[in-house]
Symmetry: C2
Subunit: 340 residues, 2 copies
């Protein structure tokens, strides 16, 4: 008998049908290649333009590359992908739509700011579980140069960065999701979540804006599943950076969870924070996506990680909302991966 | 036995579990209230600011209003909604995220430009079908003033509009979706689709950019389901406008389908095109959303329409992609509604 997904408590969804991350790939830029996880990337580019005439076109190419690599590594034809869930930080998600333009696949654009990688995986897993798709793909990207000029200042201006600022990663990650009993890395439970906004308005301190959302999601997940941090090999957030991570520990302690010993943040992991001048760490849709598809899923495949929580955080503001005096709504979606 | 969704052919998904549009609401502005479908709106506002200090905040309020009205009409509490799928045209989808901020519901931002209403419904239906959500909501909005200043010119500039230009609707629509055997309007089949880009670059002629995507989706759907236009009471596109609709008829004729007698376009229906100076018709995520939630679903509930195709079209470009010389990628997602 075919069984439906189960809802556990208010927030958690349990997969029932051997929904697996069958293949994945990570692509990055020069700084990412030189970072702490540089060797985990499938491909890195040394030029920020990737041979294209604009950074936006380069970012789009990076998404195409990540998806194509994930398909090739999994021996899957692009025409086998029934639904593509993709997103990025650019206005109207052009990195994703222009990357998807050449594909013969249904395209569903997702926007969850830096939480988008978890969101695309959740949507892909639900689609596979429902039978709407046999094979689905989840892809996100970000590019330092496209994000800086859209959200902050022209790069030529050479603006001073605040110590709490994070460095938008030039990176992309792609995962192919389908039902596969024999594939080792399964998606076990998921926790798509509500928006949390505690009133932080500082666009140069995204970690502080997003930490409350991460705390809410993790607390809800532990309570709904009756588990605690020690039940997992590693709990990854992306991307709170060093400041947001400290805040998260404080907030979790208030909820009686000791998170620090089990926690790593993708934004802290991606770079050598001291040597690479990235201030509070990495960020951007491509940061957690590339750490997931480069490091985490590879370590799971090897067997060195078996039970993992991937909690991608996003800040859902725009330059317009901030100029109009609004605070920054945070969100955090969680995906639990388990190795057979 | 619980049955999965079925895939039909390459593109179509068939719902199996009495997934119903149990409640819906449409909200609009002054021009929309004075338009051809004015009496179908649940609420209309006469001031473009809706009492808020910015148009962006007004648009966000409009989404909240549409969702709250749909919930109230369906006697559904907001805490019963497990997943909210919402989208709009603004950079980083702020109308949606700021509207969702006050809700205790998982938020999944969607971006499909003017096709977003069909996309949100597809995602909500898949989530309900899979068991990931018992109740899901689909909401989109657009606002003439927020869209003009973001995509075109400051309103104060009083720029001349091209004859092929469409008028972004100030409107929002919301649908609540859940399994309900007794609710009359069911979601029967869906067709999420690929991007089609034939190289149109004119941002003032979106109808021409999107018509090929509508033709592709309708042709795929008719072929996969072995049906033709005459099998449906009405086939609605949103929003090709008058120019895009004519192009669609030509393209469908090449595929041997006579569409015109069975077709209406939401952008043509919403306004009195001659009297209201909207040139080629309405557009924007809120246009097809409000025609669906105001006119179409109400007529289905009454029984005057029984089998309907709702095909929302989107243009997935940004001002940056157009400034960089890119053409406009079009997309069209289809939802088939059927009355019991």
């Amino acid at each position: 008998m075919v069984i439906d997904m189960k809802r556990i408590g208010k927030n958690v969804i349990e997969c029932e049908k051997d929904v697996a991350a069958v293949s994945f790939a990570a692509v990055g830029g020069k700084k990412e290649a030189e970072g702490a996880l540089g060797t985990y990337f499938d491909t890195t580019f040394t030029d920020s333009y990737f041979g294209k005439e604009s950074w936006e076109k380069a970012e789009s190419l990076m998404q195409s590359e990540a998806l194509n690599l994930a398909l090739t590594k999994g021996n899957i034809k692009d025409r086998e992908v029934d639904m593509l869930f993709a997103g990025d930080l650019l206005n109207q998600c052009i990195s994703s739509s222009f990357a998807a333009r050449s594909l013969n696949t249904a395209y569903l654009g997702q926007y969850g700011a830096c939480s988008t990688m978890a969101q695309t995986i959740i949507m892909a897993a639900i689609s596979v579980e429902s039978g709407a798709a046999d094979t689905a793909a989840a892809v996100t990207s970000s590019h330092f140069c496209t994000a800086e000029r859209q959200f902050r200042l022209p790069l030529e201006y050479g603006g001073q960065r605040s110590p709490s600022a994070q460095w938008t990663a030039t990176a992309s990650g792609a995962v192919i999701i389908k039902r596969d009993k024999n594939s080792p890395v399964k998606i076990k439970r998921m926790c798509p979540e509500k928006i949390i906004d505690l009133g932080v308005k500082d666009m140069a301190n995204m970690g502080a804006a997003m930490a409350p959302a991460a705390a809410e999601t993790l607390t809800d997940f532990f309570n709904d599943t009756k588990t605690s941090p020690k039940d997992y090999d590693r709990i990854f957030t992306g991307d709170l950076g060093s400041i947001g991570s400290s805040l998260l520990y404080e907030l979790m302690a208030k909820n009686n969870f000791d998170l620090a010993p089990y926690h790593s943040d993708c934004g802290v992991m991606l770079y050598d924070i001291k040597l690479q001048d990235v201030h509070a760490g990495g960020s951007g849709c491509g940061c957690s996506a590339s750490v997931l598809c480069g490091y985490i899923l590879n370590e799971m495949k090897k067997g060195s990680l078996k039970k993992v929580l991937f909690c991608a955080t996003g800040a859902l503001m725009s330059t317009v909302s901030s100029q109009q005096g609004e605070s920054i709504p945070g969100i955090c979606h969680l995906v639990e991966f388990e190795r057979n």
